[in-house]
Structure formats: structure tokens, C-alpha cells
Symmetry: C3
Subunit: 288 residues, 3 copies
């Protein structure tokens, strides 16, 4: 089985190498793909290893809930938060347990997913912080803290959130020069309210473009397309963590919000293509 | 079996390498350029795709003006900014149109270019924001917003700015551990005034070193070399977006400013070389 | 001569490949090391060039003290800081000279090393700034400014600090999705006091996890494990430069601090492994 994998990789290299006059470009190709293969194979290895770990691990970390498929997203829980830490994190005295959603790449997808999680469970959103991250990309990671009286609620919420990112990453379109990202919900809840001031229970859309200039044009298109209200406007030096994004959020009638988000997506992707980029859905399954 | 394949691969590489009387520098160049070629090849592919798109595209995006050759710089315009957005962006009521210069890598080059653009056109600088970016590098990207009564003026300004970055990237010297960047103009205008408080109409220089320590020594050298006035001093936690740079700007007699900038360049490049780095002009054509 | 170098590299690869039963792990290792070798070879090349430069250079840069082995750390001194710069940097009038420690990756290791340097020399810590950096990673770089009346003291301090990072990088564990980092000293001095408010002369520990969620669980474990006082708690939007880290610092009885840090390390590394990551000591020599 391992050999099959090895064979496959080598076969590919061999095909390239067997060409008669290997050019400098081709040599470059080999060198280039070595690092790409390294990453993809390492990921596979890690996945295999993880499976093995899960099967054989004698004492798994009780705080570890799991990972999501995208964004280096990890889910964690603490059943009884240490009292010093509890105070420093500003958690309400009535909650002993917290759930943690933390990632390198993505704020929108995880916040949307956390929003679904708090709808589905008996938890509260304590804080949402947005590091400047995305591993060299233009945007944010996130650190989302949920709390509950009972740890099982936090754990359940984290599980729901991790799973739901498979959906919400569907409208994150990455490309070399930046990204285009859209989110939509028919009914905003506590996470979206905490992060963006979304009116609870109302239709809500998030529109993100990077580099920031894309976001400006996407915002303009979104607002012109349908009769929506602008909830927030963030730019590199105002409302982001100095990310290279313009982010707007809109609310209103659900049809209008959806229409607005879709129009912004079209113009964002078109500009990216005009820049010579190839924007693709992270999951291959747009959800809006 | 696997060994045979690997052997063959290595043999091919070896043959290629042995055939050419490849020098140490050339090998270095090949290895080093592998990642650069990766990007440029991707770009070529994208460009090909773009050409196809442009030929077949039924309705090109009117907001898209073009791209510059460096820094993932894109130029955009909006002819009639949506009124909600207009207000949120703080644009003066008399301007309907905006021009946008947005990029992943570089603030100095784009601001210098925008400065030339506003000199040459009937536009005003609305805002200059500096995301922490450079795609994993040590510095900033930028988001520059220009405004005009007529969209043709904004469009023209963006075109001028995109073109001028070919010049202003000439004194951006990138290397693995950081960068050394210099800018000089005999006559500062509104963009430099907005971004750095440059006295309008006077000679102006920008001196940047990364990691930040290089910038400290460059600043010291610049100020000791010639009789210039220090306009601004920025460091990671003060005046930058937490970039790993020290940036100073200077003004004064044009000869003195130029001399000061050149001296800073020499010491910055020397330190980089002492660090075992190989700083090179982004365009191959220093302009100062 | 150049061919000799190439031959050597290829011979090394070939030796590895000739091993009879090449496993998936070994192939992985080879592919992986190709990119690492690329970097290290380039570094060697650069070092060779540097040695040549140093031998042949008629006027080496007097400000350049040296580099450390990790983090793109460079040490610099200025014997007589320019008076304008002196004022802008807020340096006490009695100090003419400054020492500079500047890097792309790492704040903890360099601050710990600077702490040892000020203990060992007649210097003072002027400022410690933390750019958001690590070359696309989740954390900080640093810019540390020391000052002294005599340049020889600053130079000596920088030399001590550069050398000591070989030790302090021992408990920095990098992996693709983040890092786990620990520091411990039996006696905190002026650099740790400046950076984190460490009580001078007391035992002090630093606990860092990235992405930030790891740091929350590490913090909780550290505080539960031993009777220590929490000195500081930093998170992406509070006390960091929007890095994707939670950082706590603790003080107390030296045995307790050490125990607390070690427990945090274990849980941090375990979570990383549960995430399918492979955290490894930067130097291969943990020091705590």
C-alpha cells in the first residue's frame, strides 16, 4: 500500500525525467514539485498517523475534541477552567467549562460554524478574537471561546462547529494574490452578533475581498444590487487586525441579503480572474 | 524496484548537471529560482487563461483597470460609489468616483507611484492604509484610495500609478531574511503628505530596513551622512502595522536627501550581505 | 570545484536512497529534506560567500556584530547614535551606544537571551518590540534595543545574546499548524521585566501555544499543575501584535515554575500530535 503511493509519485517524476532533453525549467519543476509533494504526502502521513494514534493511544488528551478539514482548525474543551485563568479570560462565574475553536486560516467560516453551534446547544459565546494569520495569506485566523455550565454542552458545540466548517468553507475562494469570501445565513445568532454586531434572528451576509481593493468593489456591488442595510465596514487599519481585506456585513430581507452576497461574489471572482488568478472554492461546494 | 526508479531520477539530474559546466552560482540560481519560477509559471498559465477569458468574455468588469508587474498590485475604479459606502469611507461629497490601488507586497513603491499619479491628474488622495502583509515577508501591502469628480480622472490616475511602480520597485531589495527599501523624490505631493506627513513640494526620502534592526542602522547612517530633517520614525509597535521594519522619512535640500538615502542603501545592503543574504533589486533597475 | 559540491550533494542523496528497504517515512524524509537541503545549501553558499567577503572586504561594516543560528537573528551595534535618532528612540541621554538584537522568528528565545546578556554586561534594556512575523508562521519576531555608555558593553551584550539563542531555541517546537514554546529562568532580569513585567530576581516561566487555542489549554494546565502566580495573559487581540498565540507568564517558587512549564509543554505537544502534527525542538536540545 505504501509502495503503491511511492510508485505513483516516482512514476510521475519518471515521466517528466524520461523526456530526452531535460531543460532547466524541467529540473526546476522537479525541485518545485518536491516541496509540494512533501506537503501533500506529509498531510497524508499525518492523517494516517492520526488514525493510528486514535486507535492505539493509551491516554488521549481529554481536552482534544478534534480537527476540521480546513484551515488548521482545532477544537478543544476545558471541563473546569482554572480560577486564575477563568478570571483573566473574563468568563462569567456561572460557567465552569469552555469550548475552544482555534485555527490558522479563516475567521468567517469558523464564526459562521460557531453560530450554528450555539443555536444547536446550550452554550454562550464568550469571545471571538481574530489574529492576523492565514499562514502568509491576506486574512485572519480565529480564536472562538464558548462557555457552558456543563462540559458536555461545550464539547457538543465544538463538534458541531468543526463539522459545519465543511459547509462554510465552500464560499472561500483562495488564489495566489488573495481571496474572495462570502457568507450567508437566514438567521444570525450569538456568534455573528458578538463578532460583527449582527441583529439576532435576522438574515445576515458577510462579504470579504483580498487584497483589500477587491473588497471595496465587492462592497459597492453588494450595496447597489439589493436593498440591504450595511452593518459594518472594516478595512486594513480599521476593524481588522491589519489584514489585507475589506469586509462588509449586511442585513435585511433574506432574499435581498442573498442576492447582494451573490452579486458581490460574482464581481470578486471576476476581478480575481482579470488579475490572472484562478479562484477556486476551498471545498469545491459553494453553499450560497 | 523503487531504488531503480530513484536512481534513474538522480542519474538524469546528475547528467544534466554534469553536462553543463554549471557554476556554484548557477546552481544556486537554479535552486533559488525554482520557487520564483513556480510563481511566474503559474502567472503565465493564468495570463494565458486571462487572454482566453478576455477574448471570450462577453462583459469585462468595468471596475478593473489593470495590474502592475510587481507586488500583486491591482488597479480598480468605481464610477459612482454607492452612497452608504461613500459615507462609511469618509469621501468628500463632491467626489462621485474613486480610484483604488491595492496590493499584497509594498507600500513605499505604490505610495510613490500614487504621488506621481496625483501630480499628473485631477484627483485627491482620500486614504492610505497599510495592511501587515507581503505574503509572509516582513512588511506591508497597501490600499490607496483616490477620488475625483469624473471617473476618467480616477482611471487615469490609477493607470499612471500602476505604470510607475515599474520604476519605484527598483530600489526594493528583497532577500530571505528581510528587505532594504529606498525612495526619493525631488518634490513630494499629496500621497506622500497623506502617508508620512511629507512637506508638499519639497525633496523627500523614505528609508526602510527589515528585519527592523537593519532599519535602525540605516536610519542612523542616513541622518549622519547629510544635513536632513527627520520627518517620521516608525518601528514595529509604533507607526507600522506591526511590520518587522524600521522606517524613517527625511526632507531637506534635494542633494542632501538623495545623499542620505544612498548612504542608507549602502549600509543596509552591506549588513544584509554580512548576514549571508543576497539582496537584489526587484526590477534590476535602481532608480535613485 | 563547483562540480565537487554538486557531486557531494548527490552522493549524499544517493547514499540514503541506496539503503535496502526504503520505507515510506524514509522517502518522505528524502523528499522533505530536498527543500531543507535547498535552504541549508543556499545558506552554506552564502556563508562561503560571507567568509570570502570577510577575508577580502577592505572595510567591513562596523555595526555588524553577527548572526545567531536560528530565527534570522542579527546582532548590531551603533557606537554613537545620531542625536535626532537618539531622541526619537527615547534613549536616556547618558547612553551614547546601543546594541540591537533583531529577528524574523522568535521573541521568547531572543528576550530570554537578552536577559542573560544584561545580567552579564553593563547594559540597560531600552525597548522590546514585537512585530507580527515568523515568516508566515503564527507568532512574533523581535526588536530588542540595549544601551550602554561604552560601545564595548553593547557589543559584548549582543554577542552573549546571539550565542545564548542556541540554548533558548531548544524549547521552541515548530510544526506546520503552529508552535509550542516554553521558557524558564531561575532568576529573571531586566529584559524579562521590560517585556512581560517579570519580578526581577525571581523564578519566571513563559508558556506559548499557537494556534491560540493550544495556548489556552497549556495555560490552564500550567496553572493547575503547580502553585504559581500568573503574571500576564496575552491573546490575539490583547497583548500580542495580533499573533495567533496565547502567551502566559508565571512566577513563584523555582520548582513550581519549572513543574508548571514542563506540564504545559507536555499538554501542548500532545495536542499538536493529536492534530496530526509532528512538533520538534528547533535545536534538538530542550533546555528546561
Amino acid at each position: 500500500m505504501d509502495n503503491e503511493l511511492i510508485e505513483k509519485v516516482l512514476e510521475e517524476i519518471r515521466k517528466k525525467v524520461d523526456l530526452k532533453n531535460i531543460s532547466k525549467d524541467q529540473l526546476n519543476e522537479i525541485v518545485k514539485s518536491s516541496s509540494e509533494n512533501l506537503i501533500s504526502r506529509q498531510n497524508k502521513e499525518n492523517n494516517n498517523k492520526k488514525e493510528v494514534d486514535l486507535m492505539s493511544a493509551p491516554s488521549p488528551i481529554t481536552e482534544f475534541v478534534g480537527t476540521a478539514n480546513y484551515g488548521d482548525t482545532v477544537g478543544l474543551v476545558i471541563a473546569n477552567v482554572d480560577s486564575l485563568l477563568h478570571e483573566k479570560m473574563g468568563i462569567d462565574a456561572k460557567y465552569r467549562s469552555i469550548g475552544i475553536i482555534s485555527d490558522r486560516t479563516g475567521a468567517g467560516p469558523q464564526i459562521m460554524a460557531a453560530d450554528e453551534a450555539v443555536k444547536a446547544t446550550n452554550t454562550e459565546v464568550i469571545s471571538i478574537e481574530l489574529p492576523r494569520d492565514t499562514k502568509g495569506g491576506a486574512g485572519h485566523g480565529s480564536l472562538i471561546i464558548l462557555a457552558s455550565e456543563d462540559v458536555s454542552d461545550s464539547r457538543r458545540a465544538v463538534e458541531v462547529a468543526l463539522k459545519d466548517t465543511d459547509r462554510t468553507f465552500g464560499d472561500v475562494y483562495g488564489f495566489d494574490a488573495g481571496h474572495v469570501e462570502l457568507h450567508y445565513t437566514a438567521r444570525a445568532s450569538l456568534a455573528l452578533n458578538k463578532a460583527f454586531g449582527a441583529p439576532i434572528g435576522k438574515s445576515f451576509g458577510i462579504i470579504v475581498g483580498a487584497p483589500a481593493g477587491l473588497g471595496v468593489v465587492m462592497a459597492d456591488t453588494a450595496l447597489k444590487t439589493a436593498n440591504v442595510d450595511l452593518v459594518s465596514y472594516s478595512s486594513p487599519s480599521n476593524g481588522t487586525s491589519y489584514s489585507n481585506e475589506v469586509i462588509i456585513t449586511v442585513t435585511g430581507d433574506s432574499g435581498a441579503v442573498r442576492q447582494s452576497v451573490i452579486a458581490a461574489r460574482e464581481v470578486g471572482l471576476s476581478i480575481a480572474r482579470s488579475m490572472g488568478q484562478n479562484p477556486v472554492s476551498t471545498t469545491g461546494k459553494p453553499y450560497i
